[in-house]
Symmetry: C2
Amino acid sequence: MDKVTAVPALADGRRPRADRARQVADLLRGEITHGRFGGGRLPLEAALAREFGTSRNTVRDALDLLRDEGLIERCPGVGTTVSGERYPHGLHRLLGLAEVLHEHGEVTNEVRAMSLIEPPPAVSGRLGLAAGESVVYVERLRRLNGLPLSLDLTYLVRDVGEPLFDADLEHNDIFVLLERIAGQQLGLAELSLEAVNADAHTAAVLGAPRGAALLMIERLAHLADGRPVDLEFIRFRGDRLTMRGHLRRSLNDSMEKTWP
Amino acid sequence: MDKVTAVPALADGRRPRADRARQVADLLRGEITHGRFGGGRLPLEAALAREFGTSRNTVRDALDLLRDEGLIERCPGVGTTVSGERYPHGLHRLLGLAEVLHEHGEVTNEVRAMSLIEPPPAVSGRLGLAAGESVVYVERLRRLNGLPLSLDLTYLVRDVGEPLFDADLEHNDIFVLLERIAGQQLGLAELSLEAVNADAHTAAVLGAPRGAALLMIERLAHLADGRPVDLEFIRFRGDRLTMRGHLRRSLNDSMEKTWP
């Protein structure tokens, strides 16, 4: 492979244009989500072609990819504008949605279901409950400034969950309410995170196209004393959320010891 | 809302069947990814209906959802079997793919492009380079046991990137090679994570259906001395990977101080 002379970034004509377009799209996506253009307008195609050292056709294909992701809009005669804001959600700390997004607007929760149920073993097992112990099930559609952001299915141990029947779930994170009820902070949460396509019904609930990419999170939160109390299955609209965090190469000793 | 008597888990007939099916699907997904069934067979529909306290029709819809995610296969007369293994990728520590997945098989990397390039400002800026400084661009299709897992676009600062032209990239993580070249460990990485739908060309490269949900990761890795050296854009097939980690409610003081 030729490494003698550096070529303008993406000008390598031996590579398929689709590969170069993906490369430009990724860099532009980063620029957009890091706020370079604010909520505003992108440079003209010709300027972007110069900036990325590639052809206008490649730039156009890259913009098409980002439009298909819902990140920008392209309007003939007007140009390219940033359309879909992606809200940052920290991966560094356990926070409720309203706590995370308070700078971005108001989170409201539509309670779609709430009842005391006899949980199946898949729930009892994770929450450390004996067979026959009831849990509180809460299903919420969560909106930011009126736009659907996530669909959350939550199982709560009975003693901290039952007081929620009398709480204002529409305007409060369950985390904050739980801590008030339990008289202690939450501690650790186990998290798993996947990308899945929205089935037809979920897509309709979230106001997204069928098949839209969702961030699917399973989260088991413990109180500070170690007791698991809150098992959640969360579907975030992929076009409205970016998870952000930091990773270290070496595990901090104290962290390693406190993690189970 | 009725909370007086606990009802069998998902038997609440006032809710749409699609909502109950999603609920069963999430719990079964958790059971599958936590290994309850190994690589094997799920119980019969009737048994699952009893276990989840719901109708066979709801169970059938739930299994359809998981089949559409590529997690199970359903064969008349044979039953339901786990088909797609999702490999766990730790969110607690910065690791290369082969380091993460060594228990699960062999990672091989097909180098699709590798060259010295003049990077656009979007790259120079993140890597802290002056205009005109070259970087090494590497594009790899990464496979686990021969199956496509991710497509990685990587920009490396020249002094640590250029020796990679003579390295065995096919069988080694770039992280491990970088540390050998730099004579020091990697330190911190900034990470952002989104769910996106695969465009047609990316889908073809990854052997996934068009529109398949992908985990899109942007990662900027620094050497232990703080210098940013490695900017990556990674697309993981959503059906082959689960990110796993832990979050704490309270930030560890020492962590807060060392994070930028």
